[in-house]
């Protein structure tokens, strides 16, 4: 690995920041990519996947000439109808909030912020190399009118590269926003490392969604941290379907009374794909609520993992926590791993989890076939219906329509 100072030599960054970046990189180098010896990574070993798929991983991305209009044309969404941030190869190309009153939205690029020391290797990697770190602040009482699409496009000639993106969104009191993260990776063998942080002040609402646009042979790691204050709601839906390897980690801190967190997800895999959703919900105050529903469909040698933990602090009486994970294994050689975990230190709580895995119910297939569907149609109808329960958790109808279009359900 080369010296980080050389990498950032042509960037306008301060000496102290360069020093920070160097430190983060040193920590990462010491730890390396997480492997299966770590409990959180025991089911899907990233180190192995990277060594296997991208033995010569490149940390340096040069800004290349691109044809923006052509790139936009290839995206199956009319993005002009929305607010958007267009990231190409990790660089911010365009920020567009044309539908909004701009006096309520404050955007900073590469703010000079101290990040606390963290142990997660991939976060250190991200802090060392992330390009164009965005901080978006939504002012008090402002409800962002149109959803914000964050488009992450990686073009064909970027190969065997690590792209690190980071952004923060702050919602002031009573503010609202819907965010859809889209990845369109037109290349292969890249490792995309995205870290997003949401701070929800009192009575604010966040709706946050993730989907890969196209089938691709890349590795994704998406880390989401959400801090949730009093009366605030965070709704998250992850559609994990298109890349070779994808791990979504979501940590929600329910910091004050009547805050709630919803995490719903689909893992829909085929052809040796490996995906994981790992969640941790920390109930740290009274009367907080969390709800999770994860559904997996596995075909042809694919593997899905769900690790979900609900932690209830002794202060968090009257917690309501629910977690459900389900998997359908469509054929041999598929694998589902689940670790639905509860850790509870308060007695007046309602917490439960359920998990089930198995094949499609033959009786239901039979029932549908007696109504005229052939076996494949019957299976498809059942699977779509099964996944629909998660799609229906998307309360932003505009985003729901986009996602339904992308995943053809």
């Amino acid at each position: 690995m080369s010296n980080i100072k050389k990498i950032f030599i042509d960037k306008k960054i301060s000496k102290s920041e360069l020093e920070n970046k160097n430190n983060y990189f040193e920590i990462f180098k010491k730890k390396g990519f997480p492997n299966k010896k770590l409990e959180d990574w025991k089911f899907l070993d990233l180190n192995y996947e990277i060594n296997n798929q991208i033995p010569n991983l490149n940390f340096v991305i040069k800004k290349s000439k691109i044809n923006k209009n052509q790139i936009l044309e290839n995206i199956p969404i009319n993005i002009k109808e929305f607010n958007y941030v267009l990231n190409i190869n990790g660089f911010v190309e365009e920020i567009n909030f044309s539908h909004e009153d701009k006096s309520f939205i404050n955007i900073e690029t590469n703010p000079d912020k101290k990040n606390k020391i963290i142990s997660n290797a991939l976060e250190n990697l991200n802090l060392a190399f992330n390009l164009d770190y965005l901080c978006i602040n939504i002012k008090q009482d402002y409800k962002v009118k149109k959803p914000l699409l964050i488009l992450n496009v990686i073009i064909e000639n970027i190969k065997s590269s690590n792209i690190n993106k980071k952004f923060d969104i702050f919602l002031e009191k009573n503010a609202e926003i819907s965010v859809l993260n889209l990845v369109q990776n037109n290349s292969k063998n890249n490792f995309f490392n995205l870290h997003q942080r949401f701070i929800l002040n009192q009575s604010s609402i966040l709706k946050n969604y993730f989907v890969d646009i196209n089938k691709n042979q890349n590795l994704n790691y998406i880390k989401t941290d959400i801090e949730i204050e009093k009366n605030s709601i965070s709704e998250n839906v992850v559609i994990s379907k298109n890349s070779d390897y994808c791990k979504n980690e979501i940590v929600c801190n329910l910091l004050d009374q009547f805050s709630s967190a919803f995490i719903n997800g689909i893992i829909d895999l085929d052809n040796s794909q490996k995906h994981e959703i790992r969640t941790r919900i920390n109930h740290l105050a009274e009367n907080t609520k969390s709800y999770q529903l994860i559904k997996c469909v596995l075909n042809n040698q694919s593997k899905a993992v769900y690790q979900g933990k609900i932690y209830v602090d002794s202060k968090a009486q009257k917690t309501d926590g629910y977690q459900s994970s389900k998997a359908i294994l469509l054929n041999e050689n598929t694998e589902f791993n689940g670790k639905p975990e509860l850790e509870i230190y308060a007695d007046d709580v309602k917490c439960s989890h359920g998990s089930s895995s198995g094949n499609l119910d033959e009786n239901k297939i039979f029932y549908l076939m007696t109504r005229g569907l052939n076996k494949n149609e019957a299976k498809k109808l059942l699977i779509d219906g099964y996944l629909m329960e998660v799609i229906d958790k998307i309360t932003d109808e505009r985003i729901k329509a986009i996602i339904k279009e992308i995943i053809k359900i």
Partner: protein, 244 residues
């Protein structure tokens, strides 16, 4: 329409049907009555193509060997089974399911598939006729439906799909009088010289509302007696034990 000759069936080496013969002509309504465990549901499962039975004998449906047809092909050709226990299918919208089913059958018949608007017009009318609550059309298929709602949903499906041969497997069980009447009206309104029905039931009750042309008594996997609707009354009075 349907001709069953010497049908035998075993499941896990237990024999359930022991040489059953039955002939249903177009326009006829047959009632098949029998005590629990006499093989009633096995017959309806075999006719609709459920796997897991070993069978011998012949079944001809419209002069074709029924066993040569897949489950859905039987449906395409107008064979309909109203289930004793309709399945709950979470996440699948009732309306959408019915439309998918109807269009699959229409397609197989070489008819034009219906678009959403055409379909809605039909379903709304049928639902109204059957006093089926419209809001249930938009619920998940049978999920959380009461027993009566589920059975009414089966009859609604039947009236939309317009089958040639309908098999009603204990459709009357668990219904109150009002629901029973609605279900019977649904069946009666479909009756014409081309459509046939096989009504499988434990009780004579349903036959007060749907007058059968023939009544058969099934016992130990065999039809032991056949007659007209008077036989049902006789059964009601004497019980299955009194029939030889």
């Amino acid at each position: 329409m349907l001709e069953i000759r010497n049908l035998k069936a075993t499941v896990e080496k237990k024999s359930i049907l022991n040489g059953l013969n039955l002939h249903i002509k177009p326009g006829e309504v047959h009632a098949l009555m029998g005590p629990n465990g006499s093989g009633k549901s096995t017959l309806s499962n075999i006719l609709s193509g459920k796997k897991g039975y070993e069978t011998s004998g012949d079944v001809f449906y419209e002069n074709k060997n029924l066993f040569d047809l897949e489950i859905e092909e039987r449906a395409h050709k107008g064979l309909f089974l109203a289930f004793q226990y309709p399945l709950e299918i979470p996440g699948v919208n009732n309306n959408n399911f019915l439309k998918t089913s109807l269009n699959a059958i229409r397609k197989a018949r070489g008819e034009k598939e219906l678009d959403a608007i055409e379909f809605l017009k039909i379903i709304k009318q049928k639902a109204k006729d059957l006093k089926f609550e419209e809001k249930n059309l938009n619920r998940q298929l049978n999920v959380g439906f009461s027993g009566g709602e589920k059975k009414k949903n089966e009859i609604l499906q039947m009236s939309i799909l317009q089958p040639k041969l309908s098999i009603l497997d204990e459709t009357d069980s668990g219904l109150d009088i009002d629901a029973l009447k609605i279900v019977s009206d649904g069946v009666n309104s479909l009756r014409d010289e081309s459509k046939s029905f096989l009504i499988i039931t434990h009780y004579q009750r349903l036959l007060n509302y749907i007058k059968p042309d023939f009544v058969h008594v099934l016992k130990n996997g065999r039809i032991i007696k056949s007659g007209n609707s008077d036989l049902a009354v006789e059964l009601e009075n004497k019980g299955y034990e009194g029939i030889n």
